[in-house]
Structures are given as C-alpha cells and as structure tokens.
C-alpha cells in the first residue's frame, strides 16, 4: 500500500501519465459512451442541489436586504455569489460523489478481479483503454455540469423570488442576470474543465492503485475518491477564483 504522505507526488505523476494516454488514442466508442453516461448520471444531482441552493441563497438575501427596503435586489446575491462561486463548487462536489465514486469502484473492481491484468496480458495498456476515456468523460462533463448548475441555481432563485417573495417575474430575472456577465460564464466553464480533470484524475488514481484486496478495497477506493476529490475540488475552486476575480481587488 502507498502511504498517504506520498500522495502529493504520486497524483501529479499519475495525472501526467493519464494525460499522455489521452494523446495515444483511447477507443472512440467507449469514450463517447462514457461521456454520455457521466453527464446523464451527474446532471440530475447537480440540478437538484443547485436549484435548492439558489432558492436558499435568495431567501437569505431577501431576509437581510428587506429591512433596507431592497428586497428587489435579492437576485444580485445569487447572481454574484451563486453563479461565480457556489454553483460551480457544488457541481464539482456532485461530480466527485456521483462519478468519482463510480469510476474508482469500477476500476478497482476490475483490478481485484484481475480484468486489468487480462488487458495487460493482451498487450493492451489499461491507461489508454480504461483511464483515458474516463478522464475525457470527466473533463467534458465538468463544464456541462457547471453550466447546468448555474442555470438551475438561477431558476431556483427565480422560483422563490416569484412565489414566496412576490417579486414579479421579469424584475427577478433582470436582477438575477444583471449580476452575471459573459465573463462569469467563461470562468465557470474553465472551472468546469479543471474540476472535471481533478475529479477524473483522483478517481482513476484511486481505482488503479494497489489497495486492500477484495470488496473492501473497492469500497475504500470509492470513498477515498469522493473525499479526496471534494477536497481538491474546493482547493481548485478557491485557487481559480483568487486567481481570476482576485485580480480586480
């Protein structure tokens, strides 16, 4: 087993090898299937979480702005904080818990049942055949999930604004969208690519390393993929925000 302290060294090395494997022609059909599967399985989680989160942010914004007679401005908070920070973060978290766990357990199960060795014995490289398509799937799914997260978060805000706070529909949309620029969309999509990459690399790494054997190893790999994936998602979100938005301070 590989000691935890080596993770900061092993993970980047694995990321490099996995990225190189993408350039060596992973199977197209598997990749397309995985892309659609990852998106279809992660999207519902993303949409549900962000819808409620957008609604909750709006309630809090309204509660703090109403005393100042600025209820109509509630949408701004969701526009700024939600779209720029919270929704992409949640999308990354949903991707890590849904897809990261699935990839790690799937690969680890293939390893303990020696399916990976069977591939190697055919002279095939598991990095190209198994890891590369999954990494591509995550990198593609990342921005899709972030975009869906933004939209459903805004819709959540709109719904609560219209039905609980009684702000009329077009006014609510106007404040929500007034805070969001094309730049935010671009940054969100960049975040999505980075989050997808991070989640994919961690999941494939946890699925590929030699851990405890058997069913327990499979569960443990999935668990580590989620926990480590989430931590790295948070770090990358903060890093990107500090780098991009921090410049304007």
């Amino acid at each position: 087993m590989i000691p935890q302290v080596l993770l900061p060294l092993m993970l980047p090395a694995f990321a490099l090898r996995a990225t190189a494997a993408i350039l060596r022609g992973p199977p197209l059909k598997d990749t397309v299937l995985l892309v659609s599967r990852v998106i279809l399985r992660s999207l519902p989680v993303v949409v549900i979480i962000c819808f409620f989160c957008g609604a909750m942010l709006t309630v809090q914004a309204a509660a703090s702005l109403a005393p100042f007679g600025a209820l109509r401005m509630s949408g701004l908070i969701v526009g700024f904080g939600g779209v720029r920070e919270v929704f992409p973060l949640l999308a990354g978290g949903a991707l890590a818990s849904r897809t990261g766990a699935e990839i790690a357990s799937q690969l680890q199960a293939m390893r303990v049942t020696r399916q990976v060795e069977a591939l190697e014995m055919m002279g095939l490289d598991p990095l190209v055949l198994l890891v590369a398509p999954r990494l591509i799937a995550c990198v593609v799914a990342g921005p899709v999930c972030v975009f869906a997260a933004m939209v459903s978060g805004l819709v959540g805000g709109q719904v609560i604004g219209q039905f609980q706070l009684g702000i009329d529909r077009s006014a609510m949309w106007a404040t929500l969208l007034s805070a969001v620029g094309v730049g935010d969309l671009v940054v969100g999509l960049i975040k999505g690519v980075v989050l997808g990459f991070v989640v994919g690399v961690v999941a494939c790494y946890e699925g590929s390393i030699v851990a405890e054997g058997g069913a327990r190893g499979v569960g443990a790999a999935a668990n580590r993929a989620v926990v480590r994936g989430m931590v790295l998602v948070c770090l990358s979100c903060l890093g990107l925000s500090a780098l991009i938005y921090g410049r304007f301070l």
């Binding site: 049942t113 399916q115 060795e117 069977a118 014995m121 055919m122 095939l124």
Partner: protein, 254 residues
C-alpha cells in the same frame, strides 16, 4: 505464426534464472532456476499456495521479482521497454486461475475482445472465429450471456476460449480444469492435447489434476515450498522414487 526465426526457436519458451519473489518476509518463489522448452506442453504441479500462479505472473512480467532474471520467448522481461513487453504479451495467451473475464461484456464480446482490439480483425471474421472457439469449448449457445450469469465451469471455458483466440505461440493455463465435471475436464484435456500437437504451440499448464497431467504433459515439474523439487520429461517424473514426489502423485497425505 509459431516461430519467428531459427535462433529464437532455440531459446527456451520461458527461462528463469535464480528468481526470488517475496511477499513480506516470505519467499514465495525461492531462488528458482527453470527452463521450459518450446513446442511442448509443460505441466507444473504442486500443492496449494506453493507459488505456481506467482511463477506465471513472473514469466509474463505482471509481477517483478526481487532477484533473478526472466526471459520469455527470448525477451528479457524485466529489461525490456514497456512497448516491447506489450508486444511480447501479444504473442502469449493466458488463462487466469480466477478467469478474469470482462464483467461488463457478454461471453461473445469477451472472446471477441482480443480479436477486435489487438488484431483488429474484420467483424465477419470475428463472428466466425468466436463461434468456432465457443463450439470448441462446448458453449455455442451462451454467446449473449454476461459472465456473472454463468456457472463456474462455464466461465472457465469462456476464459479458455479467450486465451486461445489469437492462436498465441505460448499459452499459459492456470488450472484449466479445476471446478469442471470429469467429462468436461476430459474434453478440455483433449482440446489442449490436440491443439498442441496440431499447431506445435508451447503450453504451460498448472494443474492439481494428476490424471489430466498424465494425459497432456510432455514435461512436468513439481513445485514445493517455492522451489522446483523435480523437473523433467513426464516419464522421468512419473517414475521418480523420491518420497515427496510419490506422495504427491499418489495423492497421499504427505
């Protein structure tokens, strides 16, 4: 298809020199030197847990030894570059002890996998070849099933068909007949024997089944406690008066 040139024909199929493999403090393969010849069937016998499967993993480069060198089909397995090792493995087939079938693929797709992905065979030819292989192992009806809906013996036979799919020059069988009924075992033995004599391939077979070993083996080796206790032509091994060999062959508690 069988041998590339005369020089490589003379090198042994598998040659281990002073190979030691440890798991923890225990040497599971202990300073083993062994030479397995081409164009024949070599059977490796030995009690459970003596390192037979480990020996096959070492010969294929799936496991790295702590000491010693391994040459397979003339290639230095642990001196070779990654792509050389992958190329070498395409000349081998392996039946894993626990089958290692691809769980998400049907029986047909499992057997077709090496043809499609390694050899890039055209689809009509894949279909013909897979049908032929499934016929050969006696499972022509089960192509559409997923592996987890097969019996243990059926799975073994699918794995056997997959290992043979590319007609490799060297095939390693890790317990091809364990878990099979006597009749199916006998037909697998016959299959191994016929294929070997017909194509002149090199087969290495690990088995607990003394009767089956008596049918298929040209050479035989007995592995005890991580060491090669005795190795030679089957007749010599079978005639050995060594008490531990006799105990094993006569299935006495030793």
């Amino acid at each position: 298809m069988t041998v590339a040139n005369e020089q490589s024909a003379q090198t042994p199929a598998i040659e281990l020199r002073a190979v030691t493999k440890r798991f923890g403090p225990r040497a599971v393969v202990d300073d083993v030197t062994l030479s397995i010849q081409r164009g024949r069937t070599t059977v490796i016998l030995g009690p459970s847990g003596t390192g037979k499967s480990t020996l096959l993993r070492l010969a294929t480069g799936l496991l790295e030894p702590e000491a010693g060198s391994v040459h397979t089909l003339g290639v230095d397995v642990f001196g070779a570059k990654k792509h050389e090792l992958l190329r070498l493995r395409r000349r081998m087939g392996m039946l894993f002890q626990d089958n290692a079938l691809f769980g998400s693929l049907s029986v047909f797709d499992n057997v077709a996998f090496p043809l499609r992905r390694v050899q890039r065979t055209a689809e009509p030819e894949v279909r013909r070849r897979v049908d032929e292989l499934l016929q050969l192992v006696g499972l022509p009806e089960l192509g559409d099933r997923l592996p987890d809906r097969l019996s243990g013996g059926q799975r073994k036979r699918v794995a056997l068909a997959r290992a043979m799919a590319l007609s490799p020059e060297l095939v390693l069988f890790d317990e091809p007949t364990s878990g099979l009924d006597p009749q199916t075992s006998a037909s697998i033995d016959q299959l191994i024997k016929d294929t070997q004599t017909r194509l002149g391939l090199t087969f290495v077979v690990i088995t607990h089944d003394i009767e089956s070993a008596g049918i298929i083996a040209d050479d035989a080796g007995l592995l005890l406690d991580g060491k090669v206790h005795l190795f030679g032509p089957r007749a010599t091994v079978w005639a050995s008066q060594d008490p531990r060999v006799r105990a094993f062959l006569e299935r006495r508690a030793g």
